[in-house]
Structures are given as C-alpha cells and as structure tokens.
C-alpha cells in the first residue's frame, strides 16, 4: 500500500498509526515505511507529486499495488473537516479527467476534485480543489490499475473559511479525527490488491521450474503458462517439476511438461 501525501503535517497521523519509520537510504523525497505500507512526502504541487509518485513506483516496482493520495483540500460547498472520496479528478492544465473506479464501500461524501496549479480562493464550483491529485493519478495509473488508485481529501477551507484562515497547528488533529473513516478504505484497497495478486504457490512453482534449465525468453513464457495450467488443473506440482527435471534440454523439458499436462486438460 502506497501513500502519497504533500505535507508532513498531513502525514503525521499516518506515521503514528502504521508505525512508519523514515528510510535512511538517500532519497529525493522523504519515504516512511513498515513491512506493508509506504508513504512518500511529495511537497505541494503537480510537478512534485508527479516526481514523488514516479520515484516511489520505481523504488518499489511490484505491479498493481494500492495507491492513495491523501491530504487537505478546499471545497466549494462541503463543511470544514468533511472527508470526501474524489470521483472525478479534473486538471486546470487541460489533462483528461481521471475517474477512480468507485468500488469501495463507504459512507463518505463523494465529490469531483479539480487540481489547480495555484491556490484557489474563490471556490467557483461545488467541487473540491487541491494541487496534486491529477498528477498523482496520471502517474500511479502507469503502474497500477485504476481500481487501486484513490484520492481521499479532508476539507480544510471553503467559501466561509478561505484558505488564508487555515490554522496550521490544527491540521494534525483534523486529520487524526478522520482516520477511523479512512482506515476501512485502506483495508478494502489492500484486499482488492490481494485479490488480483499472483498466487504465492504458483510463483514458487514457476520459479522452481524455470531454475532447472537455461530457458530462452520465449521458452520461459511457455513454461510459465504450462505450470500455471498445471497449478490450475490441480495436477501435482511435483509431477510437473519431475517432467522438467527429467529432461535433458530446455526444449525437451517443455515437451515433457506439455505431454504430462495433456490428460488433465479438461473441465470437471
């Protein structure tokens, strides 16, 4: 699970909740992590958000991880402290709108959000306003599916309480008070990511199979597919590996594997 957050004040409650520790490795952006969560402090604005999201995805390159952009935003109509899920992310620079797939169960407000290049103080429409989300989505979607990319914002300013009146010292407590409503979203995102993750048993079988011979790239693809079928059809992985290890060459191994699979290739 990856978090991209602009400012330390917005992220501090998450550090504490997940016991995230700052990484000591030199990095252009501060990264905080535990075994399963990573948080990067991007700084304010689209350009920094782009760079931070890309950096985190390159540093931890597993595909289809969950990504959450979290922080404060202005809003044209919602009250201060309201948490909302962004459902349509617009960009004042003319980038295409991004529609995060709405799969998560929640009782939060749902709102469009416009990412702006500079601070908005007039809130012209009944939508949210921030400075990072569109860049975050554009870059996270290069490495993950849209269902796993979400933006959650907390209203820090609105027409009655414009951006200049934000009390910086209260940001931490504002964020902290919203965490109980955000944690279920994080759990659901992680569960969705888990659902489409490759089976660990299959990965282990494939790794063992591929280690037996010097397969070419095309052959590796064939072995991977055949072992996936073996795993899927419930034929013992041991039999599949025996077919591979008993062969004298990579080509023979694929042939033997294919032959051993043949009888199993029928739906129950």
């Amino acid at each position: 699970m990856n978090f991209v957050v602009a400012l330390k004040a917005e992220a501090t409650p998450l550090f504490e909740l997940f016991k995230l520790v700052k990484e000591s490795e030199p990095s252009p952006f501060p990264v905080f992590a535990n075994d399963t969560h990573r948080l990067i402090l991007s700084g304010v604005g689209k350009e920094l958000s782009t760079k931070a999201t890309s950096y985190l995805s390159e540093r931890f390159p597993q595909p289809n991880q969950a990504w959450l952009n979290f922080g404060l935003a202005g809003h044209g109509t919602l009250a201060l402290g309201t948490v909302f899920m962004a459902n349509r992310i617009l960009d004042d620079g003319g980038e295409s709108a991004f529609y995060p797939t709405q799969l998560l169960d929640h009782d939060l407000e749902s709102s469009a959000l416009q990412t702006c290049s500079s601070t908005v103080s007039d809130y012209p429409d009944p939508i949210g306003y921030d400075m990072e989300a569109s860049a975050f989505c554009a870059n996270a979607s290069l490495v993950s599916i849209r269902e796993l990319i979400q933006v959650v914002k907390i209203v820090s300013d609105n027409p009655d309480h414009p951006v200049g009146s934000i009390d910086r010292s209260s940001v931490g407590s504002l964020i902290e008070s919203t965490l109980p409503s955000i944690l279920p979203l994080i759990d659901q995102l992680e569960e969705l990511a888990h659902q489409i993750a490759p089976s660990p048993g299959l990965d282990k079988l494939v790794d063992s199979g591929l280690a037996q011979h010097p397969f070419s790239e095309t052959q590796r693809h064939q072995v991977r597919k055949l072992l996936t079928h073996a795993h899927t059809l419930g034929s013992p992985g041991k039999d599949a590996l025996t077919a591979i290890t008993g062969a004298k060459s990579a080509k023979q191994a694929i042939s033997a594997l294919r032959k051993s699979m043949e009888q199993h290739r029928i739906l129950s």
Binding site: N87, A112, Q195, H229, H231, R265
Partner: protein, 337 residues
Amino acid sequence: MIEVIYHEEGILDHPSVQAILKRYPRAILISCAHYKDVFNPGGQSFRLQKQKPSLILARQTGSLVHPVPATYGIGGTRNFYFSHLLNCLYDCRYCFLQGMFPSAHYVLFVNYDDFQDEILRKTKESADEPSWFFSGYDCDSLALENVTGFADCFLPFFAKHGNAYLELRTKSVNLKVLEKTDPLPNVVTAFSFTPDEISEQLEHGVPSVSSRIRAMEKIAGLGWPVGLRIDPLIDCKNFEERYRTLFDKLFANLPPDSVHSVSLGAFRVPVSYFKKMEKLYPEEPLFAGKFEKRGKFTGYRQEIEQDRSAFCQDELLKRIPREKLFQCETSVKEPGQ
C-alpha cells in the same frame, strides 16, 4: 444494486434517465463529457469492476444497427444486431465481453427512439423479406430489464412492424415483461444453456438451469416463440452424458410448436480477447483446456470442436426437425467490427 451512476452531460433531462434516477435515489451521480471517458481508458480491471459495476447513462450516436456475420442467423437472410446496452448482469467465465470491453460497467444508451428509427429504416429497405434484429450481442437482453425498460419499450414497437423480427437473448428468469404482454410471433426469446455442472462452475450469478427451463416453459406456454442457444459448447468430462441430460431436460415439457429455433455455437473468441480473458483469470480451469489458435480465433482443437458439435447435432435432431437447427460458425464478431 446500482450505487454509482455516471451520466453524459446534457442527458439528465431525458425521461428514461429521470426514471432511473428515481429508482436509485441514493446513487452517487458523476457527470462525464462522453461515456468513453469512463468506459474506455486502459488500465481498468474488468475482474474487480465486475464485483460492483456502475451504470453509465449515455446517448449513442453514429450507426446504431449493424450487420451480423453471414454465418450467424436463425433462418433469415437479413440479419442485424444493435446494442442498447454494453455488458451483462451475469459473470460467465467464457463470455467474450470480458475480453472485448475495457470496463465491466454497464453502459445504457437511452435514446431508444433513435434505435427504433434505424431498425425501421433497415426493415423498409426490404419489404419482401423479414429483417432480423439481435439485441443480445453485447449484453443480456432481459437481465437488467428493471433498469433499462428495454423490452417494455421495444415490444410495442415490434408489435407494429411485423416484418421486423427481434431476438431477445437471455439467461434471466425475470420475464414479467413478456408475461404481461400478448405474445408476438416476430419476437423470439432465446435462452442460452450449458449443462448444470458447467453452469455451476462457469456461469456466476446466473439463475440455475432448472429455474431457467421453468421460466422458458412458462412463456412458451403463454404463446411466445422461444429459441434454445446451446452456445458456447464447453468441452468437459462426461460431455455426452451431460449434454444429453441437458437436452432431455430442455425438451421434456416444452411445447414443440413453441420452439422457433435451436442453435449450436462453438466456443471461439478472437485471439486477443482470449489472451485478455486468460490474463484476467489465470487460475480458471476453463482456459487450461485443449485450445488452439485458428486464424484470428482461439477455440477448442478442431477435432474436439467437430466431435462435440456433431454429437450435439445428432442428439438435437432426435428432438427437433432439421429446419429448426442452426449452426453458428462464429458467434463473436471480430475486433473492430
């Protein structure tokens, strides 16, 4: 249950949209410039979206009625399909839609009057011959009837145009719209079936075979012509026994005169769709079957396809006259068509 509704800008005043919004007053409404902005982007997971599809309300433009492949038909020579709805309520693992569409959201085109105008134009092009219109190519024709009101709107239209024939293709048992309407000789409700054991494994969310047979018998008893679609044929253990049992059940109580047509369809999907389907469900046993690429399509190996198809044809011909049996050589349009 629809929780999220996307709508194209400028469509909210349409009466069908108003009716749908009234039906789902708590749905989250999200506007978009064009339905493709939500439906078409890459990097969407059809598999995850299928858990909770949203509804996209749009207006279809351009050509709305298209010719179907020459090898597809149930007796007519002028065959067309139209898609008022993209995607299906059900989640059949063999369905080509999951390989064809980037998204599992339902797209409902609400401008039914435009579809009807074009159907009428096509029908009038050939007053001597009937024109067939297939409505279940990109969706199940009736499964979302409570939302779409499709049959409710189109049955009166086809009642007025006897030279236009409509095929409703479905796995639904919610046939109230047919039960409350006087039967029409030019509307065939076609039910797709696989044997119980296959249905239970592969047709997620679909009513049981028995309940579909009961629903079919009910409308047949009311005088509606029905079609049987043994499509796609799925290779499996005990194939012959399972398909023979299915055929026995299908014809046990069906009035013979009510059977308009029976069609057999091999499991063939465009290669690119099949690859995508495999990728979506890498651990699905169906996709580990004895498949091969033939031209632009992936299907069961030719000898298997021919053998299973010949068996089913022989069994069906014991139960229906030859003129009612049709073989659909390619059940899916090629990409880009």
